[in-house]
């Protein structure tokens, strides 16, 4: 296997390229979370009240809750196919740093599930009557937030690989851990929608991302090794 | 004495809190002891099984 002999960073690049290439063959893996996101957002006006002033008040919260639920749903596909065909086990045997390879897989997963949400979020925000001027902040915040969620979620997905129950268990593990992301992200979005500076919560989201980037790959690697034993 | 139980008009709140606390403490003690009993019985069953099937059965 070529992965075993190249430099670690090149190996990670190969994993990333492979996952992206595979996604073009399983296109629904990319589109389903976006459709789910739009559907959940549609539930709120129906459940609450289509009054424009109310919708503008809850816009930031609706976008964030829908985006987090949708990327939570996508987490399940992060390792599943690779466990079924044995690729994940092969990755642990290459001798390359497993944390780095899993980080590459997580980045690929974020490009496929987080990035489409970044593009879809302004559509929902505008449908809820939010000011289009807030879109830059909204997209930055969603990009940072879904990235943190993918990283923390990769640990949860790895922990539930070897267990009997899948997706509900995964949500139980991951949801409490990502509440800070929701708090900072929704706050940044709400500030921008009211025409105020959202710098503070955006920096906090960035800090969360750096922390997650440095810690979670090692936790994921440990979790994958435990699950595959 | 009845003034003590009346808790200055907050009787329902104070006594329900203490009742819940008592319930949680009793549950903790009961479930810890029960877990030990269950584990002990299971270990003894496993021992008896291995003694009756093993070569060193007496």
């Amino acid at each position: 296997m070529i992965l075993a002999t190249t430099a670690p960073l090149r190996a990670a690049g190969l994993v990333l390229r492979r996952d992206l290439a595979l996604a073009f063959r399983r296109w629904e893996q990319v589109t389903h979370p976006v459709v789910f996101f739009l559907m959940v957002a549609t539930l709120f006006p129906l459940a609450l009240n289509p009054k424009p002033s109310l919708l503008a008040d809850v816009a930031a919260g609706v976008v964030w809750v829908s985006a987090l639920l949708s990327s939570m749903l996508a987490l399940e596909t992060l390792y599943r196919a690779d466990v079924e065909d044995g690729t994940l086990e092969q990755l642990t045997l290459t001798g390359q740093p497993l944390a780095l390879l899993l980080l590459a897989k997580t980045v690929a997963h974020w490009i496929l599930s987080g990035l489409p949400l970044v593009l879809a979020a302004p559509v929902v925000a505008i449908a809820f009557g939010a000011d289009a001027a807030a879109n830059a902040v909204l997209m930055t915040a969603i990009a940072l937030g879904t990235a943190v969620l993918s990283l923390i979620g990769s640990v949860g997905a790895a922990l539930t690989l070897g267990s009997r129950r899948g997706s509900v268990l995964l949500s139980l593990l991951v949801l409490p851990l990502i509440m800070p992301v929701l708090i900072f992200g929704a706050r940044a979005t709400a500030l921008a929608m009211h025409g105020e500076s959202a710098e503070g919560p955006l920096w906090l989201l960035g800090a969360l991302l750096i922390l997650a980037l440095t810690l979670t790959p090692f936790a994921s690697a440990a979790a994958v090794r435990i699950s595959l034993e | 004495m009845s003034a003590f139980f009346a808790m200055g008009g907050y009787a329902g709140y104070v006594w329900s809190s203490y009742g819940l606390a008592a319930a949680i403490l009793i549950w903790n003690i009961w479930s810890a002891l029960a877990a030990h009993q269950v584990a002990r019985a299971a270990a003894q069953r496993a021992l008896a099984r291995s003694a009756s099937t093993g070569p060193s059965a007496s």
């Binding site: 923390i152 640990v155 949860g156 922990l159 539930t160 070897g162 267990s163 009997r164 129950r165 268990l169 139980l172 593990l173 949801l175 409490p176 851990l177 509440m179 800070p180 708090i183 706050r187 906090l204 969360l208 922390l211 810690l215 979670t216 936790a219 440990a222 979790a223 435990i226 699950s227 034993e229 | 003590f4 808790m7 200055g8 008009g9 907050y10 709140y13 104070v14 809190s17 203490y18 819940l20 606390a21 949680i24 403490l25 549950w27 903790n28 003690i29 479930s31 810890a32 002891l33 877990a35 030990h36 269950v38 584990a39 002990r40 299971a42 270990a43 003894q44 496993a46 021992l47 291995s50």
Partner: protein
């Protein structure tokens, strides 16, 4: 050198089982005395609060429960890390024993906080920073227990839940900070004064007694549960035979 051999002796299952059993009365008796004294002091001897009247007496079960729920999570995560790094089964047993105790006290803290909130705030629940972070802590416990119960193999459940406990304990201060930050933006500071350095001694002493009483109670409960967890991990070990034999003799003697 001496401490290391002692440590090794302790971490061997039969010694651990025996020592935990011998420790139980040393924790349980002080726990009972301290809790009874603390509750008596809190309900009878402490004067009513000048603002909250007798409703403040809920603090004697609410605050120690809050303390235990946080302490248990820390103990659980440290034990899990020790078990994961040095592959010590006893540490995993301690983590598994601590989780249900901590979860039950997180629940008690939430319930009493909500009951206390009714006369003070006028509603059963407000999204107060402390109540909200306590609720998230309860969710963390529930996730941990759910992951543990999803595995049939106890060794795998130990290691997988250990990773989750470590990730969780890194997150606890972040959750705490973010919830405080969120709360300070949306609400003024809470009207409820929950203890503080201004407390007179007649109120403070029973509270301290309750804190120590609850902590000793945790230690006693953990000893009982650790014994159960050790047994679950050592089903077929030969030392259990001695245990069963001794038990059989005492039963036939009575």
């Amino acid at each position: 050198m001496g401490t290391w051999t002692w440590f090794h002796k302790l971490s061997s299952p039969p010694h651990c089982y025996r020592i935990a059993g011998q420790l139980i009365p040393w924790f349980a008796i002080p726990a009972a005395l301290l809790i009874v004294a603390g509750i008596y002091g809190g309900l009878v001897r402490a004067p009513a609060d000048y603002q909250q009247g007798d409703a403040f007496r809920i603090i004697y079960v609410h605050a120690p429960a809050a303390w235990l729920s946080l302490m248990c999570y820390t103990v659980m995560a440290v034990a899990a890390a020790v078990g994961l790094v040095w592959r010590i089964k006893l540490a995993h047993a301690l983590a598994a024993a601590t989780a249900p105790i901590g979860a039950s006290f997180a629940l008690l803290c939430l319930a009493t906080g909500s009951i206390w909130g009714k006369p003070m705030w006028g509603t059963w629940w407000t999204w107060d920073a402390r109540l909200t972070s306590q609720l998230i802590l309860l969710f963390l416990y529930l996730g941990y227990q759910a992951l543990r119960s999803a595995y049939d193999d106890i060794g795998k459940a130990d290691r997988a839940s250990a990773v989750l406990a470590i990730v969780g304990v890194v997150n606890v201060p972040i959750i705490h900070f973010s919830v405080n930050w969120w709360n300070s933006l949306h609400q003024g500071s809470t009207v409820l004064r929950r203890g503080g350095p201004a407390m007179p001694a007649s109120m403070l002493v029973p509270l301290i007694l309750c804190f120590f009483g609850f902590t000793f109670l945790y230690a006693a409960l953990a000893c009982v549960r650790v014994r159960a967890e050790v047994l679950r991990r050592e089903r077929n070990a030969h030392w259990l035979q001695d245990l069963a034999g001794r038990r059989g003799r005492t039963e036939s003697a009575t």
